[in-house]
């Protein structure tokens, strides 16, 4: 029976510095691109980290590969595509936009739209109801309460 500590043990070798100075490129602009791209790629060994933070051997190899491709002149998209071709969808932190992932990328919009609709419905329903009577339902209630509290008790 494994438990939480086992999962952490797997993670431990990883909890250290990841990108090494000897991997880093001389050109700061290229290096910056490399770091950004690395953050978009998931480490296939320590699966909840990107290759920028992971200490796994494969992560290091991939970081070096990313930089090689950048030096060779690939665009950001091409570099990611190169690694995507070898490891599949899973390695992308940002899911690709295709038919199967359309639901995912549309979901925020759909949810927002639904919220908007619900909000609109509730507010207009409230407005409609208020327009029907001179006083609204709880204005009536308030009046009733006010009268009751301020009527002297036990007297006329």
């Amino acid at each position: 029976m494994r438990n939480i500590t086992f999962a952490f043990l797997l993670l431990l070798p990883v909890m250290a510095i990841a990108v090494e100075p000897d991997e880093m490129l001389q050109d700061p602009a290229l290096e910056q691109r490399a770091r950004e791209i690395s953050k978009e790629l998931r480490c296939v060994v320590c699966q909840n980290q990107n290759i920028d933070s992971s200490n796994a051997g494969v992560a290091r190899d991939l970081r070096i590969l990313v930089r090689e491709r950048l030096v060779a002149g690939d665009s950001d998209k091409e570099v990611i595509a190169y690694i995507h071709a070898r490891y599949g969808d899973y390695v992308l932190m940002r899911p690709p936009l295709n038919r199967a992932t359309l639901a995912l990328w549309l979901a925020p919009f759909v949810l927002a739209l639904v919220s908007l609709l619900v909000g609109w419905t509730v507010i207009s329903k409230s407005r409609r109801k208020a327009a029907i009577s001179g006083f609204s339902v709880d204005e009536e209630a308030e009046i009733a309460r006010f009268v009751e509290t301020n009527t002297p008790k036990g007297g006329s």
Partner: protein
């Protein structure tokens, strides 16, 4: 309308529940990432032989035109499970007459040579991948990983981890049968 709307949360929960039930299938391994190479031609590569070994190197050309499917095993001397797996692979070569190729991953040639001298060398060919770049071409996440490659050079199957233990061996054997490398009933 309000009546219907009130059922929406329940409906959503039920749908999610269905997915969860599916997800709990004990055969499912949430950590396993499928290989992109399955049903694809093996990557183009040409690896030199391991320094100090007589076994020739491995290239893509060696994977094409074989009489039957071959096994490509990625291993290293520093990999402890590879040791355990070695015996199983040797069995497959000697008893079942399977062809075994190897990729020696990030291993110093002296270490690999010593390791094979100690345990025996069932590999017909071994390519030396010192940098690990070739491993990336095969979508490697660690060692050992073992592939079954068809006679036309198409990757048919990938096994992650050591082929050790009844479950692993039977899975791998089944894959070999599917690939046509073994006849059903032969002992793995």
């Amino acid at each position: 309308m309000g009546r219907l709307l009130a059922f929406v949360p329940l409906a959503v929960a039920a749908i999610l529940g269905g997915f969860f039930l599916w997800g709990l299938n004990p055969d499912r391994d949430p950590n396993n990432i499928p290989s992109v190479l399955i049903s694809q031609p093996a990557p183009e590569f040409d690896l030199a032989a391991v320094d100090g070994l007589e076994t020739p190197g491995l290239s893509r050309a060696d994977l094409v035109g074989n009489p039957g499917p071959v096994i490509v095993n990625v291993f290293a001397s520093w990999c402890v499970p590879c040791r355990a797996e070695h015996g199983v692979l040797t069995q497959m070569v000697e008893k079942d007459g399977l062809t075994l190729f190897g990729i020696n991953y990030k291993d110093k040639p002296e270490d690999a040579t010593k390791w094979l001298a100690e345990l025996g060398n069932p590999y017909e060919r071994i390519g030396s991948d010192l940098s690990g770049r070739e491993g990336i071409e095969w979508g490697l996440s660690g060692v050992p990983e073992t592939f079954i490659v068809g006679s036309d050079g198409t990757v048919l199957f990938r096994y992650v981890g050591p082929v050790v233990g009844d479950a692993a061996i039977s899975t791998f054997t089944e894959a070999l049968v599917q690939a046509g490398a073994l006849i059903r009933g032969q002992n793995g």
